[in-house]
Amino acid sequence: MDWQFLAFSLAKILVVFAVVMTMVAYAVLVERKVSAFIQDRVGPNRANPFFARYIPYLGMKLVRWGIFQPMADALKAILKEDYTPAHVRKVYFWIAPALAMVPALLTLAVIPFGSQLGAQKMVIADLDVGVLYTFGIVSLGVYGIVLAGYAANSKYPFLGGIRSSAQMISYEIAMGLSVIPVFLLVGSLNLSDVIGAQSGSLLAWHVFKQPVAFFVFLVAAFAETNRLPFDLPEAETELVGGYHTEYSSMKFALFFLGEYAAMISVSAMMVTLFFGGWTLPFLGLDQPAQSLWVGLLHILIFFLKLCVLLVGIIWVRWMLPRFRYDQLMDLGWRRFIPVALANIVVTAGVLAMMHR
């Protein structure tokens, strides 16, 4: 290990972390704005810091668009009283929010978010078993929620925790099975290779080659990130707030941020696995960049694809009602797992026929 590698990795980690945290903050804003527009409201449009006045022309527009709202939210989360109820199990109560937040961020380590800048590959860890790592980490995400439900020591969080453990474990299977055909096609578990295999034409994107796999992955992703229509662990209408009912201030904010960070990381996974990552199938944008500008352009492409998926996920939340719990389990075990298995068999069969 040389110093240069260490320095560059550290720089990449810092930049990715900063960008993702900013994205999380603004994903919350987008969520609030989109929900507001869908419900004939205007959403946050009042956060007006003292310096907004001095930004020429744009200042008041930014205020109206709520651009400063995340700052106000963050300030509020930090300054609020951090209340620990007397009946909780303290140790677990304290580590649960961190456990909910960390896995979502860790999965981002293997996502190639650009081709290269100079000689540096734009991925934090170019693992050969990238996707195995991802699934390993994603399955840790359930611990934060289960521990939170257990630690809170009251009934609604407990129910939320139980639901989420069942839900996340079942959908992990469907999710893991759904991507196997993709790797059968690519022949490698390295995510950079997966992107390489999707260059050439638009039809090379796995979303067109493997629509079934994509669909199963998409649905499982909703379940894994606890988003509507599968947000049963927190189902506000039945469980108050689910597993984070007893949390306040920054600990609650960590759960909240964790949810959005998880959304970002599954969207990044989807972009990488199914939408060709940082490539675009024209203008030669599907080859690793030779110049700095093309490298930056690749990052921008990745970012835009990510944003489109994020808005899609957010939109679905305001479009579909919540599933019932038994329907959810039924869907996971009796529909998606068989479909994903059949997809594997068919893909393997077709591949075997073609390579004979």
Partner: protein, 191 residues
């Protein structure tokens, strides 16, 4: 009536119409708000809350205030039923005691020396209005109460009476009073 549940066809079981219609509806609203600048508040009230206060209808159950009768006298007789019934214990009444000031209403035995409602505790349930035998306390149309300290949110008798205004309701002892007056007159008026 029994609603017959038709079996779903394949497309319906795959949620295709649900997703399509859901998108249609959400997009319609999204478009209308974002591009045409129309909102529910704008359409119904003509603006947003702090600038354009929301006008509530008659009979709205907002903050409970004490009322005066048509002669400007305090209606409350300090029976303390409302204090007793109030679920969150928001009301505190100090009765006049044996040597307090007499009621400013004739034929009423007493009136409270102090009457406090803690608006931070009040849940606007309306039990006080319901239980009051004198129609002296009513939930009125104020819904947006704010203050800069907790002490400021405890409304005292004076404030409650000032905010409550006069009430055109029943004057419970009016007839008794009129009768008493009539009996004192001599010779009695022919009926």
């Amino acid at each position: 009536m029994i609603v017959e549940r038709k079996p779903l066809n394949l497309a319906e079981r795959l949620y295709i119409p649900a997703v399509a219609n859901g998108f249609k509806v959400t997009w319609r609203h999204f478009k209308r708000t974002l591009f045409e600048g129309r909102t529910a508040a704008g359409d119904t009230a003509g603006g947003f809350h702090p600038e354009v206060p929301w006008r509530v209808g008659e009979g709205y159950r907002g903050a409970p205030y004490l009322v005066r009768d048509q002669d400007g006298a305090t209606k409350c007789v300090s029976c303390q039923l409302c204090e007793f019934v109030c679920p969150p214990k928001a009301i505190r009444i100090t009765p006049p005691g044996p040597d307090g000031a007499p009621a400013d209403r004739r034929n009423a035995e007493k009136m409270p020396r102090e009457f406090e409602i803690n608006m931070l505790r009040c849940i606007f349930c309306g039990y006080c209005q319901e239980v009051c035998p004198e129609e002296a306390i009513f939930l009125q149309r104020d819904y947006s109460l704010s203050g800069t300290s907790r002490a400021e949110m405890i409304y005292d008798k004076e404030k409650l009476l000032a905010l409550g205004g006069a009430h055109a309701g029943l004057r419970k002892w009016k007839q008794k009073e009129d009768e008493a007056r009539a009996q004192e007159a001599f010779p009695p008026a022919a009926s």
